[in-house]
């Protein structure tokens, strides 16, 4: 069964969507969409560096995104520039730098489109294994730190006064985000990872009454988007990564209609 490339793509996509849903909720709650965008765009620079230094791409992206996240958090603390400007500068300059670096790599065949928009149809069995192992670890940690992370998200000061180590909890969240970006690069590409994080979560907002149910709905909606998008791309012969995002967008439009009342 796993020999069929389409089945492999489905399994990989479903795994990634299931991790992205709950993590994406925190992204929406904390208004981190642009932060996530910057991290995922710069992930491409991680790819370029990995190709340049001939090291594992997923590992390079993971490390690079973490370094960048730390730099971002430190820069934002400075308050010398508005944080959206800092995010914009880093997102676009790292995107541009990665394209320049990739252009310099003449000794290898670089398929730029697959890094920008994902290459889910060529996912290997080993990559599926990585997705599911990493996913299980990420969701396990998320379950473990759920209450403190949510408390810090709602109000950091309140959480701290009542004994939660906000800095530690936030650092763990950033680590999880970096790993998801590293894993999801292959599925939807650097440009569209944030979409897979925030669109299902935004769909879920209209349906959910509690943070926990929102996270579960987000995972389910992400999975549905992957299935719809992949089948759509199969029949319409379109790029699969963007098709998944388009499917998610249609689901989002659906949640804006009165249909959502059925769930409440």
């Amino acid at each position: 069964m796993l020999d069929d490339f389409f089945i492999r793509a489905l399994i990989a996509g479903i795994g990634v969507a299931a991790i992205c849903g709950p993590l994406g909720c925190f992204m929406v709650w904390r208004r981190l969409s642009y932060f996530g965008d910057t991290l995922s765009h710069s992930a491409l620079l991680g790819v370029a560096l990995a190709l340049l230094l001939n090291i594992n791409i997923m590992l390079a992206v993971f490390c690079f995104v973490i370094v960048l996240a730390i730099v971002l958090l430190l820069l934002q603390r400075q308050e010398s520039l508005p944080s959206d400007a800092i995010l914009g500068i880093l997102a676009h300059s790292s995107l541009a730098m990665s394209l320049v670096v990739l252009g310099l790599i003449t000794w290898a065949q670089v398929d730029l489109v697959s890094y920008l928009f994902g290459d889910i149809l060529s996912v290997y069995k080993s990559e599926i294994a990585v997705i599911y192992i990493a996913g299980a670890i990420i969701l396990g940690i998320l379950f473990y730190i759920w209450r403190p992370l949510f408390a810090v998200t709602l109000n950091r000061e309140l959480a701290e006064v009542e004994g939660i180590k906000a800095t530690v909890v936030n650092a763990i969240y950033i680590l999880m985000l970096a790993s998801v970006i590293a894993v999801a690069m292959k599925i939807v590409g650097a440009l569209l990872i944030t979409a897979l994080l925030i669109i299902p979560a935004s769909c879920a907002r209209g349906l959910a009454k509690s943070p926990e149910s929102m996270a579960i709905y987000a995972a389910i909606i992400g999975v549905i988007s992957v299935v719809l998008g992949l089948y759509g791309s199969l029949y319409l012969d379109t790029l699969s990564g963007p098709s998944i995002v388009v499917a998610a967008m249609f689901l989002f439009l659906l949640t804006l209609t009165p249909l959502t009342k059925i769930f409440k």
């Binding site: 000061e157 006064v161 009454k209 943070p211």
Partner: protein, 291 residues
């Protein structure tokens, strides 16, 4: 929750000559502060006087740049922050909010909500609550953790005048029932007065401290807040007795305020106007009688 433990000698939190400096500027300096179990301490001071900074140092969130901050081991704090904006992207019910930092049993949630008379809100969404309801729910959340220390930062914000009085009475009641210490932060003495044991008036440093009455009558307080603030204070006492303490003494104060209100203003709710018509001696007498 009902049994009364003997008050501990060791203060729950204590600051000794503490100050915090940020970028070469002292936010607050030379603060001595302690809160014991069963005691309500209020920090007052104008905006930017270092009240919140002082509270943060005392709670161990900010490390003082000078002096010492100490708290008892495993201090359990219940906190009602000054502004708690619930983002609309967060779907959350009262019951889930109550368990924000601690997992609770259903009957623990309900009994805490009952203490603030908000049990009917158990399954309500948090966002559409009114200011007063939300403050009550926040109080319930803070006490449901069974805290050693309650920290209330401007607890009556967004609550109307009568709601404010009710809320302060509730806080006093909670102190008695929970046998915890309470640290309140307020921008002026106003209504906090009646339910406070000790007031510390801040303006970058401790400018005066003592019983609410001493502070209200001190020159430092009046120069900070103006005599008008002291006058509104008196009104609260009249109002408070008039409405909520039907004993002999109230009869007396009830008589006096009715006198003034009937004379100058038929609108009983117009307290600000009424306050200017009460002379200071009369107010002082009245407060002596109460003390």
């Amino acid at each position: 929750m009902d049994e009364k433990a003997p008050p501990l000698i060791e203060p729950l939190i204590e600051l000794k000559n503490s100050g915090l400096k940020v970028r070469d500027r002292w936010l607050v300096r030379g603060v001595n502060l302690h809160v014991n179990r069963g005691e309500i301490v209020t920090l007052i001071g104008p905006n930017g006087s270092g009240k919140s900074t002082t509270a943060r140092m005392a709670l161990g969130i900010k490390k003082p740049s000078e002096g010492n901050a100490a708290k008892i081991a495993n201090l359990r704090v219940g906190y009602v922050p000054q502004k708690l904006a619930i983002d609309w992207t967060l779907p959350i019910t009262v019951s889930r909010f109550m368990q924000l930092t601690t997992k609770l049993k259903k009957d623990e949630i309900i009994s805490a909500l009952k203490m603030v008379s908000a049990e009917h809100l158990l399954n309500a969404d948090l966002q559409p609550l009114s200011g007063g309801e939300f403050q009550r729910v926040q109080l319930a959340r803070a006490i449901a953790r069974n805290p050693d220390l309650l920290v209330l930062d401007e607890p009556v914000q967004g609550v109307d005048f009568n709601g404010e009085i009710a809320l302060y009475q509730l806080i006093e009641k909670l102190r008695d029932q929970l046998n915890c210490g309470i640290l309140m932060i307020s921008h002026d003495l106003h209504l906090v007065m009646a339910s406070t044991d000790r007031v510390i008036c801040l303006n970058g440093h401790v400018c005066c401290e003592g019983s609410p009455k001493t502070v209200a009558e001190s020159n430092e307080y009046q120069s900070l807040f103006g005599t008008h603030a002291a006058a509104t204070l008196a009104i609260y006492h009249h109002q408070h007795d008039h409405k909520h303490l039907p004993d002999g003494r109230v009869q007396h104060s009830d008589g006096s305020i009715t006198d003034h209100c009937n004379h100058d203003n038929h609108d009983h709710n117009n307290h600000e106007d009424a306050s200017t018509n009460i002379n200071y001696e009369h107010r002082a007498d009245h407060e002596m009688g109460e003390a």
